[in-house]
Amino acid sequence: MTLAASRDGYGAALLELADDDRIVVLEADLGKSTKSCLFRAEYPNRTFSMGIAEQNMMLVAAGMASTGKIPFASTFAIFTERGFEQVRNGIARPNLKVHLCGSHGGIHTGTDGSSAQSIEDLAIYRTLPNMTVMHPCDDLSTKALTKALVEHANPSYTRTARNKTKRIYSEVQAESLEIGKFSIIREGEDVAILACGVMVSEAIDAADKLASEGVKATVVDVHTIKPFDHESMTSLAIKCGAIVSAEDHSIIGGLGGAVAESLAANHPTPLEQVGVQDVFGMSGQPDELMEHFGLTMSDIVDAAHKAVARRTT
Protein backbone atom coordinates (compact mmCIF):
# COMPACT_ATOMS: atom_id res chain seq x y z
CA MET A 1 0.00 0.00 0.00
CA THR A 2 1.40 3.36 -1.05
CA LEU A 3 0.61 6.49 0.92
CA ALA A 4 0.54 9.82 -0.89
CA ALA A 5 -0.96 13.30 -0.60
CA SER A 6 -3.10 14.58 -3.44
CA ARG A 7 -1.30 17.94 -3.37
CA ASP A 8 1.83 16.15 -4.62
CA GLY A 9 -0.14 15.17 -7.72
CA TYR A 10 -0.83 18.83 -8.45
CA GLY A 11 2.85 19.70 -8.39
CA ALA A 12 3.71 16.68 -10.53
CA ALA A 13 1.05 17.62 -13.09
CA LEU A 14 2.39 21.16 -13.48
CA LEU A 15 5.83 19.75 -14.26
CA GLU A 16 4.45 17.33 -16.82
CA LEU A 17 2.49 20.15 -18.47
CA ALA A 18 5.47 22.47 -18.68
CA ASP A 19 6.32 21.79 -22.31
CA ASP A 20 3.20 23.75 -23.23
CA ASP A 21 4.45 27.31 -22.98
CA ARG A 22 0.91 28.60 -22.42
CA ILE A 23 1.13 27.18 -18.89
CA VAL A 24 1.84 29.80 -16.22
CA VAL A 25 1.80 29.31 -12.47
CA LEU A 26 0.74 31.81 -9.82
CA GLU A 27 1.47 31.55 -6.11
CA ALA A 28 0.41 33.44 -3.00
CA ASP A 29 3.26 32.59 -0.66
CA LEU A 30 2.18 28.97 -0.28
CA GLY A 31 3.93 27.34 -3.20
CA LYS A 32 5.85 25.04 -0.90
CA SER A 33 2.55 23.84 0.53
CA THR A 34 0.47 23.54 -2.62
CA LYS A 35 3.48 22.03 -4.46
CA SER A 36 3.60 24.59 -7.24
CA CYS A 37 7.16 25.03 -5.93
CA LEU A 38 8.12 22.05 -8.09
CA PHE A 39 7.24 24.09 -11.20
CA ARG A 40 8.91 27.21 -9.84
CA ALA A 41 12.18 25.35 -9.36
CA GLU A 42 12.30 24.36 -13.04
CA TYR A 43 10.44 27.24 -14.70
CA PRO A 44 10.97 30.41 -12.65
CA ASN A 45 10.20 32.65 -15.64
CA ARG A 46 6.68 31.27 -15.86
CA THR A 47 6.02 31.30 -12.11
CA PHE A 48 4.63 34.47 -10.59
CA SER A 49 4.72 35.31 -6.92
CA MET A 50 1.68 37.38 -6.03
CA GLY A 51 2.61 37.68 -2.37
CA ILE A 52 0.00 37.23 0.31
CA ALA A 53 -2.65 38.84 -1.85
CA GLU A 54 -5.18 36.36 -3.16
CA GLN A 55 -7.66 38.82 -4.65
CA ASN A 56 -5.01 40.25 -6.94
CA MET A 57 -3.83 36.75 -7.86
CA MET A 58 -7.29 35.81 -9.14
CA LEU A 59 -7.55 38.76 -11.51
CA VAL A 60 -3.93 38.63 -12.67
CA ALA A 61 -4.61 35.02 -13.64
CA ALA A 62 -7.78 36.15 -15.41
CA GLY A 63 -5.89 38.82 -17.33
CA MET A 64 -3.29 36.25 -18.39
CA ALA A 65 -6.03 33.85 -19.47
CA SER A 66 -7.55 36.61 -21.60
CA THR A 67 -4.34 36.63 -23.66
CA GLY A 68 -4.35 32.85 -24.23
CA LYS A 69 -2.21 31.74 -21.30
CA ILE A 70 -3.40 28.82 -19.20
CA PRO A 71 -2.87 29.95 -15.61
CA PHE A 72 -2.75 27.58 -12.67
CA ALA A 73 -3.10 29.51 -9.42
CA SER A 74 -2.90 27.91 -6.01
CA THR A 75 -3.07 28.64 -2.32
CA PHE A 76 -4.79 26.98 0.62
CA ALA A 77 -8.42 26.14 -0.08
CA ILE A 78 -9.50 28.52 2.64
CA PHE A 79 -7.52 31.43 1.19
CA THR A 80 -8.93 31.01 -2.29
CA GLU A 81 -12.16 32.01 -0.60
CA ARG A 82 -10.65 35.41 0.22
CA GLY A 83 -10.93 36.07 -3.48
CA PHE A 84 -14.32 34.44 -3.99
CA GLU A 85 -15.96 37.47 -5.51
CA GLN A 86 -12.92 37.91 -7.75
CA VAL A 87 -13.39 34.32 -8.91
CA ARG A 88 -17.08 34.96 -9.43
CA ASN A 89 -16.89 38.25 -11.29
CA GLY A 90 -13.41 38.11 -12.76
CA ILE A 91 -13.03 34.47 -13.78
CA ALA A 92 -16.30 32.54 -13.89
CA ARG A 93 -18.47 35.29 -15.35
CA PRO A 94 -16.25 36.00 -18.37
CA ASN A 95 -15.50 32.23 -18.48
CA LEU A 96 -11.75 32.74 -18.51
CA LYS A 97 -9.87 29.47 -18.27
CA VAL A 98 -8.10 29.94 -14.97
CA HIS A 99 -7.46 26.80 -12.94
CA LEU A 100 -7.48 27.26 -9.18
CA CYS A 101 -6.10 24.73 -6.78
CA GLY A 102 -7.00 24.93 -3.11
CA SER A 103 -4.77 22.68 -1.05
CA HIS A 104 -5.20 21.75 2.60
CA GLY A 105 -8.95 21.31 2.19
CA GLY A 106 -11.04 19.82 4.96
CA ILE A 107 -10.78 18.79 8.58
CA HIS A 108 -8.09 16.27 7.60
CA THR A 109 -5.69 19.22 7.36
CA GLY A 110 -5.15 18.70 11.08
CA THR A 111 -3.24 20.66 13.66
CA ASP A 112 -3.52 24.10 12.02
CA GLY A 113 -7.08 24.08 13.32
CA SER A 114 -10.33 25.58 12.18
CA SER A 115 -8.99 28.69 10.45
CA ALA A 116 -7.21 26.54 7.87
CA GLN A 117 -9.79 23.79 7.46
CA SER A 118 -12.09 24.81 4.63
CA ILE A 119 -15.31 22.85 4.89
CA GLU A 120 -17.24 25.02 2.44
CA ASP A 121 -15.06 25.43 -0.66
CA LEU A 122 -16.75 22.78 -2.78
CA ALA A 123 -20.15 24.23 -1.97
CA ILE A 124 -19.38 27.83 -2.81
CA TYR A 125 -17.50 27.18 -6.05
CA ARG A 126 -20.21 24.77 -7.17
CA THR A 127 -22.71 27.62 -7.20
CA LEU A 128 -20.82 29.55 -9.90
CA PRO A 129 -21.93 29.15 -13.53
CA ASN A 130 -19.11 27.92 -15.82
CA MET A 131 -17.02 26.55 -12.93
CA THR A 132 -15.82 22.96 -12.84
CA VAL A 133 -15.21 21.68 -9.30
CA MET A 134 -13.01 18.70 -8.54
CA HIS A 135 -11.72 16.94 -5.45
CA PRO A 136 -9.60 13.94 -6.42
CA CYS A 137 -8.74 11.23 -3.92
CA ASP A 138 -5.04 10.56 -4.44
CA ASP A 139 -1.90 11.92 -6.01
CA LEU A 140 -2.10 10.05 -9.31
CA SER A 141 -5.71 10.96 -10.02
CA THR A 142 -4.98 14.57 -9.06
CA LYS A 143 -2.10 14.56 -11.51
CA ALA A 144 -4.15 13.05 -14.33
CA LEU A 145 -7.17 15.31 -13.81
CA THR A 146 -5.03 18.43 -13.46
CA LYS A 147 -3.32 17.59 -16.74
CA ALA A 148 -6.73 17.11 -18.36
CA LEU A 149 -7.66 20.69 -17.45
CA VAL A 150 -5.43 22.05 -20.21
CA GLU A 151 -7.98 20.97 -22.81
CA HIS A 152 -10.95 21.82 -20.59
CA ALA A 153 -13.33 24.51 -21.82
CA ASN A 154 -14.05 26.17 -18.47
CA PRO A 155 -12.35 27.59 -15.39
CA SER A 156 -11.98 25.18 -12.52
CA TYR A 157 -11.42 24.78 -8.80
CA THR A 158 -9.63 21.67 -7.56
CA ARG A 159 -9.33 20.87 -3.88
CA THR A 160 -6.34 18.84 -2.77
CA ALA A 161 -5.48 17.46 0.65
CA ARG A 162 -2.45 18.15 2.79
CA ASN A 163 -1.93 14.73 4.33
CA LYS A 164 -1.17 11.35 2.91
CA THR A 165 -3.83 8.73 2.38
CA LYS A 166 -3.88 5.41 0.54
CA ARG A 167 -3.16 5.61 -3.15
CA ILE A 168 -6.29 4.38 -4.93
CA TYR A 169 -5.29 4.26 -8.60
CA SER A 170 -2.43 2.98 -10.68
CA GLU A 171 -0.91 5.45 -13.12
CA VAL A 172 -2.78 3.77 -16.01
CA GLN A 173 -6.12 3.75 -14.17
CA ALA A 174 -5.71 7.40 -13.24
CA GLU A 175 -5.05 8.38 -16.86
CA SER A 176 -8.41 6.87 -17.85
CA LEU A 177 -10.40 9.15 -15.53
CA GLU A 178 -12.61 11.72 -17.21
CA ILE A 179 -13.60 15.10 -15.79
CA GLY A 180 -17.32 14.95 -15.01
CA LYS A 181 -17.64 11.15 -14.98
CA PHE A 182 -18.05 8.99 -11.89
CA SER A 183 -15.23 6.53 -11.30
CA ILE A 184 -16.75 3.28 -10.04
CA ILE A 185 -14.15 1.60 -7.90
CA ARG A 186 -16.15 -1.39 -6.81
CA GLU A 187 -19.60 -2.72 -7.52
CA GLY A 188 -22.33 -4.03 -5.23
CA GLU A 189 -26.11 -3.85 -5.49
CA ASP A 190 -27.24 -3.12 -1.93
CA VAL A 191 -25.97 0.42 -1.40
CA ALA A 192 -23.88 2.96 -3.31
CA ILE A 193 -21.28 4.97 -1.41
CA LEU A 194 -20.28 8.17 -3.19
CA ALA A 195 -17.11 9.64 -1.80
CA CYS A 196 -14.55 12.28 -2.68
CA GLY A 197 -11.05 13.18 -1.55
CA VAL A 198 -9.68 11.53 1.55
CA MET A 199 -13.02 9.80 2.17
CA VAL A 200 -12.61 7.50 -0.84
CA SER A 201 -10.18 5.20 0.94
CA GLU A 202 -12.49 5.22 3.97
CA ALA A 203 -15.35 4.24 1.67
CA ILE A 204 -13.38 1.32 0.25
CA ASP A 205 -12.62 0.08 3.77
CA ALA A 206 -16.27 0.53 4.66
CA ALA A 207 -17.30 -1.59 1.67
CA ASP A 208 -15.00 -4.38 2.92
CA LYS A 209 -16.59 -4.19 6.35
CA LEU A 210 -20.09 -4.13 4.88
CA ALA A 211 -19.29 -7.16 2.73
CA SER A 212 -18.34 -9.09 5.88
CA GLU A 213 -21.77 -8.13 7.23
CA GLY A 214 -23.53 -9.30 4.07
CA VAL A 215 -24.10 -5.91 2.48
CA LYS A 216 -22.75 -5.46 -1.03
CA ALA A 217 -21.67 -1.87 -1.65
CA THR A 218 -20.77 0.06 -4.77
CA VAL A 219 -18.00 2.58 -4.14
CA VAL A 220 -17.73 5.64 -6.38
CA ASP A 221 -14.94 8.20 -6.48
CA VAL A 222 -16.76 11.42 -7.33
CA HIS A 223 -13.62 13.30 -8.28
CA THR A 224 -15.74 15.86 -10.15
CA ILE A 225 -18.45 17.49 -8.05
CA LYS A 226 -19.43 19.74 -10.95
CA PRO A 227 -20.43 19.05 -13.65
CA PHE A 228 -22.18 16.30 -11.73
CA ASP A 229 -22.64 12.94 -13.41
CA HIS A 230 -26.44 12.81 -13.10
CA GLU A 231 -26.78 9.92 -15.51
CA SER A 232 -24.54 7.61 -13.47
CA MET A 233 -26.16 8.85 -10.27
CA THR A 234 -29.60 7.86 -11.51
CA SER A 235 -28.37 4.43 -12.66
CA LEU A 236 -26.88 3.78 -9.22
CA ALA A 237 -30.04 4.95 -7.47
CA ILE A 238 -32.10 2.52 -9.57
CA LYS A 239 -29.63 -0.30 -9.06
CA CYS A 240 -28.93 0.07 -5.31
CA GLY A 241 -31.94 1.92 -3.93
CA ALA A 242 -29.85 3.31 -1.05
CA ILE A 243 -27.15 5.97 -1.21
CA VAL A 244 -24.42 7.24 1.13
CA SER A 245 -22.34 10.35 0.46
CA ALA A 246 -19.01 10.78 2.23
CA GLU A 247 -16.92 13.95 2.21
CA ASP A 248 -14.50 15.87 4.39
CA HIS A 249 -16.68 18.96 3.89
CA SER A 250 -19.88 20.40 5.27
CA ILE A 251 -22.95 18.29 4.61
CA ILE A 252 -24.43 21.51 3.22
CA GLY A 253 -23.85 22.16 -0.44
CA GLY A 254 -20.87 19.96 -1.31
CA LEU A 255 -20.85 16.39 -2.59
CA GLY A 256 -23.81 15.40 -0.41
CA GLY A 257 -25.69 18.45 -1.55
CA ALA A 258 -25.03 17.62 -5.21
CA VAL A 259 -26.13 14.02 -4.65
CA ALA A 260 -29.30 15.14 -2.87
CA GLU A 261 -30.20 17.55 -5.65
CA SER A 262 -29.63 14.92 -8.29
CA LEU A 263 -31.63 12.25 -6.50
CA ALA A 264 -34.51 14.58 -5.70
CA ALA A 265 -34.74 15.68 -9.32
CA ASN A 266 -34.24 12.36 -11.05
CA HIS A 267 -34.88 9.37 -8.81
CA PRO A 268 -35.80 10.02 -5.16
CA THR A 269 -33.81 7.54 -3.09
CA PRO A 270 -32.87 7.31 0.61
CA LEU A 271 -29.61 9.22 1.20
CA GLU A 272 -27.42 9.28 4.31
CA GLN A 273 -24.73 11.94 4.43
CA VAL A 274 -21.37 11.47 6.07
CA GLY A 275 -19.66 14.83 6.40
CA VAL A 276 -19.04 17.76 8.70
CA GLN A 277 -22.28 18.50 10.53
CA ASP A 278 -22.41 22.29 10.08
CA VAL A 279 -19.68 22.97 12.65
CA PHE A 280 -16.15 24.36 12.43
CA GLY A 281 -13.10 22.18 13.02
CA MET A 282 -10.32 22.41 15.57
CA SER A 283 -6.72 21.37 16.13
CA GLY A 284 -5.74 17.75 16.41
CA GLN A 285 -4.17 14.92 14.49
CA PRO A 286 -6.09 14.00 11.34
CA ASP A 287 -7.20 10.60 12.67
CA GLU A 288 -8.40 12.12 15.96
CA LEU A 289 -10.33 14.79 14.09
CA MET A 290 -11.85 12.41 11.57
CA GLU A 291 -13.15 10.29 14.42
CA HIS A 292 -14.45 13.28 16.37
CA PHE A 293 -16.27 14.74 13.37
CA GLY A 294 -17.72 11.43 12.22
CA LEU A 295 -15.63 11.00 9.08
CA THR A 296 -14.37 7.42 9.41
CA MET A 297 -14.90 4.08 7.80
CA SER A 298 -17.23 3.04 10.63
CA ASP A 299 -19.34 6.20 10.20
CA ILE A 300 -19.79 5.22 6.56
CA VAL A 301 -20.73 1.65 7.57
CA ASP A 302 -23.34 2.97 9.99
CA ALA A 303 -24.71 5.34 7.36
CA ALA A 304 -24.91 2.48 4.85
CA HIS A 305 -26.96 0.36 7.23
CA LYS A 306 -29.30 3.27 7.85
CA ALA A 307 -29.71 3.91 4.14
CA VAL A 308 -30.39 0.24 3.46
CA ALA A 309 -32.97 0.14 6.26
CA ARG A 310 -34.75 3.09 4.65
CA ARG A 311 -34.78 1.43 1.25
CA THR A 312 -38.27 1.24 -0.22
CA THR A 313 -37.66 -1.40 -2.90
Binding site: A53, Q55, N56, L59, G63, S66, T67, N89, G90, P94
Partner: protein, 278 residues
Protein backbone atom coordinates in the same frame (compact mmCIF):
# COMPACT_ATOMS: atom_id res chain seq x y z
CA UNK B 1 -2.55 36.52 -39.80
CA UNK B 2 -5.55 38.78 -39.53
CA UNK B 3 -6.58 41.22 -42.21
CA UNK B 4 -6.05 44.39 -40.23
CA UNK B 5 -3.25 45.09 -37.79
CA UNK B 6 -3.98 47.26 -34.77
CA UNK B 7 -3.12 50.89 -35.43
CA UNK B 8 -4.07 54.31 -34.18
CA UNK B 9 -5.07 57.15 -36.42
CA UNK B 10 -3.67 60.38 -34.99
CA UNK B 11 -6.20 63.13 -34.54
CA UNK B 12 -5.88 66.78 -33.63
CA UNK B 13 -6.83 68.01 -30.19
CA UNK B 14 -9.67 69.96 -31.80
CA UNK B 15 -11.03 66.82 -33.44
CA UNK B 16 -10.84 64.92 -30.17
CA UNK B 17 -12.69 67.69 -28.37
CA UNK B 18 -15.49 67.48 -30.94
CA UNK B 19 -15.66 63.69 -30.57
CA UNK B 20 -15.80 64.04 -26.77
CA UNK B 21 -18.67 66.49 -27.11
CA UNK B 22 -20.61 64.02 -29.25
CA UNK B 23 -19.89 61.32 -26.70
CA UNK B 24 -21.21 63.50 -23.87
CA UNK B 25 -24.52 63.87 -25.68
CA UNK B 26 -24.69 60.11 -26.28
CA UNK B 27 -23.96 59.43 -22.60
CA UNK B 28 -26.86 61.60 -21.46
CA UNK B 29 -29.16 60.12 -24.12
CA UNK B 30 -28.29 56.57 -23.08
CA UNK B 31 -28.93 57.21 -19.43
CA UNK B 32 -32.15 59.03 -20.23
CA UNK B 33 -33.46 56.24 -22.46
CA UNK B 34 -32.59 53.59 -19.85
CA UNK B 35 -33.87 55.84 -17.07
CA UNK B 36 -30.94 54.48 -15.08
CA UNK B 37 -27.17 54.38 -15.13
CA UNK B 38 -24.20 56.47 -14.10
CA UNK B 39 -23.98 59.82 -15.85
CA UNK B 40 -21.67 61.60 -13.39
CA UNK B 41 -18.66 59.29 -13.64
CA UNK B 42 -19.21 58.80 -17.36
CA UNK B 43 -19.01 62.54 -17.99
CA UNK B 44 -15.88 62.80 -15.83
CA UNK B 45 -14.02 60.00 -17.63
CA UNK B 46 -15.05 60.55 -21.24
CA UNK B 47 -12.25 62.95 -22.21
CA UNK B 48 -9.72 60.40 -20.96
CA UNK B 49 -11.28 57.63 -23.05
CA UNK B 50 -11.46 59.79 -26.17
CA UNK B 51 -7.85 60.82 -25.63
CA UNK B 52 -6.82 57.18 -25.47
CA UNK B 53 -8.83 55.92 -28.44
CA UNK B 54 -8.18 58.95 -30.59
CA UNK B 55 -4.51 59.53 -29.91
CA UNK B 56 -2.73 56.37 -28.87
CA UNK B 57 -4.62 53.12 -28.77
CA UNK B 58 -3.56 50.57 -31.38
CA UNK B 59 -6.71 48.58 -32.08
CA UNK B 60 -8.66 47.38 -35.09
CA UNK B 61 -12.42 47.38 -35.42
CA UNK B 62 -12.10 44.53 -37.93
CA UNK B 63 -10.78 42.25 -35.19
CA UNK B 64 -11.55 43.70 -31.77
CA UNK B 65 -9.82 40.78 -30.02
CA UNK B 66 -6.61 40.96 -32.05
CA UNK B 67 -3.92 39.47 -29.79
CA UNK B 68 -1.51 42.36 -30.41
CA UNK B 69 -3.98 45.13 -29.65
CA UNK B 70 -3.58 47.65 -26.87
CA UNK B 71 -6.12 47.23 -24.09
CA UNK B 72 -8.29 49.66 -22.18
CA UNK B 73 -9.49 48.30 -18.86
CA UNK B 74 -12.33 50.45 -17.56
CA UNK B 75 -12.11 49.24 -14.00
CA UNK B 76 -14.79 51.71 -12.94
CA UNK B 77 -17.12 49.65 -15.11
CA UNK B 78 -20.26 51.52 -14.12
CA UNK B 79 -19.07 54.37 -16.36
CA UNK B 80 -20.13 52.12 -19.21
CA UNK B 81 -22.05 54.84 -21.10
CA UNK B 82 -18.72 56.60 -21.58
CA UNK B 83 -17.11 53.42 -22.90
CA UNK B 84 -20.02 52.68 -25.22
CA UNK B 85 -20.08 56.20 -26.60
CA UNK B 86 -16.33 55.97 -27.28
CA UNK B 87 -16.65 52.52 -28.87
CA UNK B 88 -19.35 53.97 -31.09
CA UNK B 89 -17.31 57.04 -31.96
CA UNK B 90 -14.33 54.88 -32.92
CA UNK B 91 -16.30 52.35 -34.93
CA UNK B 92 -16.62 49.27 -32.74
CA UNK B 93 -20.38 49.38 -32.30
CA UNK B 94 -23.33 50.89 -34.15
CA UNK B 95 -25.58 53.69 -33.02
CA UNK B 96 -28.38 51.13 -32.72
CA UNK B 97 -26.27 49.30 -30.13
CA UNK B 98 -26.29 52.40 -27.93
CA UNK B 99 -30.06 52.02 -27.77
CA UNK B 100 -29.58 48.62 -26.09
CA UNK B 101 -27.91 50.09 -22.99
CA UNK B 102 -29.46 48.32 -19.99
CA UNK B 103 -32.07 46.79 -22.31
CA UNK B 104 -32.97 43.09 -22.11
CA UNK B 105 -30.39 41.01 -23.98
CA UNK B 106 -28.69 44.17 -25.23
CA UNK B 107 -25.17 44.58 -26.61
CA UNK B 108 -24.55 47.37 -24.08
CA UNK B 109 -24.93 45.80 -20.65
CA UNK B 110 -25.38 47.87 -17.49
CA UNK B 111 -21.69 47.53 -16.70
CA UNK B 112 -18.94 46.93 -19.27
CA UNK B 113 -18.77 43.27 -20.18
CA UNK B 114 -16.31 41.63 -22.56
CA UNK B 115 -18.78 38.85 -23.33
CA UNK B 116 -21.34 41.26 -24.73
CA UNK B 117 -19.69 44.24 -26.39
CA UNK B 118 -17.10 44.25 -29.19
CA UNK B 119 -14.05 46.22 -28.10
CA UNK B 120 -14.59 45.73 -24.37
CA UNK B 121 -11.56 43.96 -22.90
CA UNK B 122 -12.68 43.57 -19.30
CA UNK B 123 -15.89 42.65 -17.54
CA UNK B 124 -16.27 45.26 -14.84
CA UNK B 125 -19.00 46.27 -12.45
CA UNK B 126 -17.25 45.23 -9.27
CA UNK B 127 -14.71 47.84 -8.25
CA UNK B 128 -11.07 47.14 -7.51
CA UNK B 129 -10.37 44.39 -10.02
CA UNK B 130 -9.25 46.12 -13.21
CA UNK B 131 -5.63 46.85 -12.32
CA UNK B 132 -5.03 43.20 -11.42
CA UNK B 133 -6.57 42.13 -14.72
CA UNK B 134 -4.50 44.65 -16.65
CA UNK B 135 -1.40 43.46 -14.83
CA UNK B 136 -2.11 39.91 -15.99
CA UNK B 137 -2.31 41.11 -19.59
CA UNK B 138 0.85 43.19 -19.22
CA UNK B 139 2.76 40.27 -17.69
CA UNK B 140 1.70 38.05 -20.60
CA UNK B 141 2.88 40.67 -23.05
CA UNK B 142 6.19 41.00 -21.27
CA UNK B 143 6.65 37.22 -21.15
CA UNK B 144 5.97 36.88 -24.87
CA UNK B 145 7.90 40.03 -25.82
CA UNK B 146 4.82 41.58 -27.43
CA UNK B 147 4.60 45.34 -27.65
CA UNK B 148 0.95 45.76 -26.73
CA UNK B 149 0.22 48.29 -24.01
CA UNK B 150 -2.46 48.22 -21.31
CA UNK B 151 -4.31 51.21 -19.92
CA UNK B 152 -6.26 50.86 -16.70
CA UNK B 153 -8.77 53.52 -15.72
CA UNK B 154 -9.64 53.67 -12.03
CA UNK B 155 -11.87 55.95 -10.01
CA UNK B 156 -10.51 57.79 -6.99
CA UNK B 157 -13.21 56.28 -4.78
CA UNK B 158 -12.29 52.91 -6.23
CA UNK B 159 -8.82 53.31 -4.74
CA UNK B 160 -10.45 52.50 -1.40
CA UNK B 161 -10.48 48.86 -2.52
CA UNK B 162 -7.57 46.88 -1.06
CA UNK B 163 -7.01 44.89 -4.23
CA UNK B 164 -5.88 48.07 -6.00
CA UNK B 165 -2.91 48.26 -3.67
CA UNK B 166 -2.18 44.55 -3.91
CA UNK B 167 -1.94 45.08 -7.65
CA UNK B 168 0.04 48.31 -7.29
CA UNK B 169 2.66 46.39 -5.28
CA UNK B 170 2.72 43.45 -7.66
CA UNK B 171 3.17 45.70 -10.73
CA UNK B 172 6.34 47.12 -9.22
CA UNK B 173 7.54 43.74 -7.95
CA UNK B 174 7.30 42.24 -11.42
CA UNK B 175 8.93 45.30 -13.07
CA UNK B 176 6.00 45.81 -15.41
CA UNK B 177 6.35 48.83 -17.67
CA UNK B 178 3.84 48.19 -20.46
CA UNK B 179 0.94 49.44 -18.36
CA UNK B 180 -0.33 52.83 -17.27
CA UNK B 181 -2.99 53.66 -14.71
CA UNK B 182 -5.22 56.69 -15.16
CA UNK B 183 -7.14 57.72 -12.06
CA UNK B 184 -10.29 59.69 -12.76
CA UNK B 185 -10.14 61.91 -9.69
CA UNK B 186 -13.67 63.31 -9.66
CA UNK B 187 -13.93 63.47 -5.88
CA UNK B 188 -17.36 61.85 -5.61
CA UNK B 189 -18.48 58.30 -5.04
CA UNK B 190 -21.88 56.65 -4.75
CA UNK B 191 -23.07 58.00 -1.44
CA UNK B 192 -21.22 61.27 -1.13
CA UNK B 193 -17.98 63.16 -1.67
CA UNK B 194 -14.99 60.81 -1.51
CA UNK B 195 -13.44 62.45 1.52
CA UNK B 196 -16.74 62.17 3.41
CA UNK B 197 -16.82 58.42 2.77
CA UNK B 198 -13.14 57.70 3.35
CA UNK B 199 -10.40 60.27 3.60
CA UNK B 200 -7.98 59.53 0.78
CA UNK B 201 -5.24 61.93 1.81
CA UNK B 202 -2.61 62.56 -0.84
CA UNK B 203 -3.55 59.87 -3.33
CA UNK B 204 -0.69 60.72 -5.69
CA UNK B 205 1.79 60.39 -2.85
CA UNK B 206 0.36 56.98 -2.01
CA UNK B 207 0.97 55.76 -5.57
CA UNK B 208 4.42 57.32 -5.53
CA UNK B 209 5.18 55.56 -2.27
CA UNK B 210 4.39 52.25 -3.97
CA UNK B 211 7.00 53.11 -6.61
CA UNK B 212 4.91 54.48 -9.47
CA UNK B 213 5.78 57.52 -11.58
CA UNK B 214 3.18 60.25 -11.25
CA UNK B 215 1.83 62.98 -13.49
CA UNK B 216 -1.06 65.18 -12.40
CA UNK B 217 -3.19 66.73 -15.11
CA UNK B 218 -6.47 68.45 -15.84
CA UNK B 219 -8.53 65.49 -16.97
CA UNK B 220 -10.70 67.66 -19.21
CA UNK B 221 -7.86 69.37 -21.09
CA UNK B 222 -7.41 67.26 -24.21
CA UNK B 223 -3.93 68.59 -24.95
CA UNK B 224 -2.79 67.73 -21.43
CA UNK B 225 -4.43 64.31 -21.66
CA UNK B 226 -2.65 63.47 -24.90
CA UNK B 227 0.66 64.76 -23.59
CA UNK B 228 0.36 62.71 -20.41
CA UNK B 229 -0.56 59.58 -22.32
CA UNK B 230 2.47 60.02 -24.55
CA UNK B 231 4.67 60.74 -21.53
CA UNK B 232 3.60 57.55 -19.81
CA UNK B 233 4.36 55.45 -22.87
CA UNK B 234 7.85 56.87 -23.08
CA UNK B 235 8.59 56.81 -19.36
CA UNK B 236 10.46 53.94 -17.77
CA UNK B 237 8.41 52.23 -15.11
CA UNK B 238 4.73 52.01 -14.51
CA UNK B 239 3.05 55.41 -14.49
CA UNK B 240 -0.05 56.85 -12.91
CA UNK B 241 -1.80 59.77 -14.51
CA UNK B 242 -3.80 61.52 -11.81
CA UNK B 243 -6.50 63.21 -13.85
CA UNK B 244 -8.37 65.87 -11.92
CA UNK B 245 -11.89 65.81 -13.26
CA UNK B 246 -15.35 67.11 -12.50
CA UNK B 247 -18.09 64.62 -11.93
CA UNK B 248 -20.91 65.34 -14.37
CA UNK B 249 -18.63 67.60 -16.48
CA UNK B 250 -20.53 69.54 -19.14
CA UNK B 251 -23.97 69.49 -17.56
CA UNK B 252 -24.23 72.30 -15.03
CA UNK B 253 -26.64 70.71 -12.60
CA UNK B 254 -24.76 67.40 -12.63
CA UNK B 255 -21.35 68.96 -12.09
CA UNK B 256 -19.86 68.11 -8.72
CA UNK B 257 -23.26 66.85 -7.60
CA UNK B 258 -23.22 63.50 -5.78
CA UNK B 259 -26.87 62.85 -6.59
CA UNK B 260 -25.99 62.34 -10.27
CA UNK B 261 -23.56 59.51 -9.58
CA UNK B 262 -26.21 56.98 -10.47
CA UNK B 263 -29.39 58.74 -11.54
CA UNK B 264 -31.03 59.60 -14.83
CA UNK B 265 -32.22 63.16 -15.55
CA UNK B 266 -35.96 63.82 -15.72
CA UNK B 267 -37.49 65.21 -18.94
CA UNK B 268 -36.84 68.83 -18.07
CA UNK B 269 -33.30 68.14 -16.90
CA UNK B 270 -32.66 66.14 -20.07
CA UNK B 271 -33.72 69.04 -22.28
CA UNK B 272 -31.47 71.39 -20.36
CA UNK B 273 -28.54 68.96 -20.53
CA UNK B 274 -28.89 68.61 -24.30
CA UNK B 275 -29.00 72.38 -24.71
CA UNK B 276 -25.83 72.76 -22.63
CA UNK B 277 -24.07 70.05 -24.63
CA UNK B 278 -25.20 71.38 -28.04
Amino acid sequence: MTAAEPTCEQRTVEDLELIAKDCRREIVRMVKRANAGHPGGSLSVIDLLVGLYGNTLRVTTENPTHPDRDRVILSKGHASPAMYSALHAFGFIEEADLHTYRVFNGVCQGHVDSKWTPGVDFSGGSLGMGLSFGLGIALSGKMDEKNHFTWVILGDGECQEGEIWEAAMATIHHKVENLTVIVDVNGIQNDDFVDQQMVMGDLAAKWAAFGWKIKEIDGHDMAEICAAINWSKEAVGPCVIMARTTKGKGVSFMENNPSFHGKAPNDEEFEQAMEELA
